[in-house]
């Protein structure tokens, strides 16, 4: 069991190592290999979460704008003209 987990982990790490894709870093700051790889690993997940978050924000904004416009329109009606 332990051996198969080790093999699985090694496989994942090896696959990640192969997938490492940072180009020439021209900056004088050492980005660190592990830090580069971690970003690559989490990129699609956080990217998707960020896209969803933006979508959700826009949806809420749209709904609240639509709702408040309706409310504003009701408030703008002259008194006594409500059905």
């Amino acid at each position: 069991m332990r051996r198969s987990r080790f093999v699985l982990h090694s496989g994942v790490w090896a696959a990640l190592a192969v997938l490492v894709c940072c180009g020439n870093a021209y900056a004088y700051i050492d980005p660190g290999t592990g830090s580069y790889i971690l970003q690559i690993v989490i990129a699609s997940l956080v990217g998707a979460a960020f896209t969803l978050k933006l979508f959700w924000k826009r949806l809420r904004l749209f709904v609240s704008n639509t709702f408040s416009k309706g409310k504003d329109r009701r408030e703008e009606r002259p008194p006594g003209k409500d059905e």
Partner: protein
Amino acid sequence: MNDGKHGGSFRDPNGFIFSKDGILYRQVNVRCRDAFDAMMQSGLYGDLVGAELLIDHEEVASSLAVSGDAYKVLRPRLVPFVSYPHEWCFSQLKAAALVTLDIQKMALEHGMSLKDCSAFNVQFVGGKPVFIDTLSFERYRVGEPWVAYRQFCQHFLAPLALMSNTDVRLNQLLRVYIDGVPLDLASSLLPLRTRLRLPLLTHIHLHARFQRRYEGTSEKPQHGGNVSRTALLGIVDNLESAVNGLKFVPRGTEWGEYYGDTNYTDDGLRCKERLVEEFLHGLEPGMVWDLGANTGRFSRIAAVQGRYVASFDVDPAAVEKNYLSCVEDGRRNILPLLLDLANPTSGMGWAGTERMSLLERGPAETALVLALIHHLAISNNLPFDRIAGFLSEICTNLIVEFVPKDDSQVRRLLVCREDVFDEFTQKHFEEAFGRFFRIVRAEKIADSLRTLYLMKKDG
């Protein structure tokens, strides 16, 4: 060779800070031409300066350059008082972290990226954290991960997480680790519950593990194209959530409730405030260092007179309260800072000259030393002449309070220890301080046994 280059400005081959005839300049080297022009022409510089996120500069004659590879010479606006991350309270470090992330977001919108987000690149100007390194930007390269991600986690996220979850005093690790808190150390010091919080699990614990796993990698990763701009914005957004989720509530420390725990009557406190105000009025304008400022009650008196005040205290809770009330009041000329006067910041970094000591950042025009001498003399066993000698190095004018042994606060300091302080008398105090300063005024504080002195250094 003395070319005026600043001791802390040598790592970046793109340029450096130097002084000429007492004026501070930044040289931009030819190799940075493309990135610098891109920053200026993309509108990033204008937007960052407009949002008070980046220090502004003016371009001056290139003839001022100190080496042949200069592209431009800039004269940046001066920071009123240089401070360092280990001297900031929790909310100051948090504000600096959020500003850094805002800058990276704005940079990405302009097709640029922050390549160096050291916490030392942030300074407090007008009460707000502002990025000061104009050369820390590069063109965004499609598919590339964020080159300064590791640095952000080590300089900001790890110390904030430790201050919030373990102990607020752990910001002092930034004094030891000039390139930020190593993530394996942060991971081992953080409590287990932080592994249940996804941002901290990812950016600290998992990050530390990845660093350990790949530290021996001898082959350079080959090609790019894996981290989209949306993913980069997602990482920045995730880091922002991590920082925003960290809290520190100041309570239960030594001085947090000091003003509610003094032996002053209302009249006594008013008298002391009036005397401080009166003493300050007669002095030249200039910077004030309030040593042992607590939550900054007396710093505000100097600030109201238009002076810039560095408001130091040893207690993180007091500095936190001071900073938060300055933010709330919109007070732009007080900079609350953490300082242990018995062990002030010394020169740090390479050759001990990369970051300035406290003394190098002085002298102040005036030092306020209120209700502090007895702590230095009794709690730290410091003789009066040593205290006076040090104070004479950091200021020209001194407003200092003497609290005698009969005062209840001093009796409290002696309650559990033998009184070996035979020389702790007002006579010895005046003799010792008289060797370094001229005593201009000495006034009794009403309803107390205390005396407030105004002293000046002659010559």
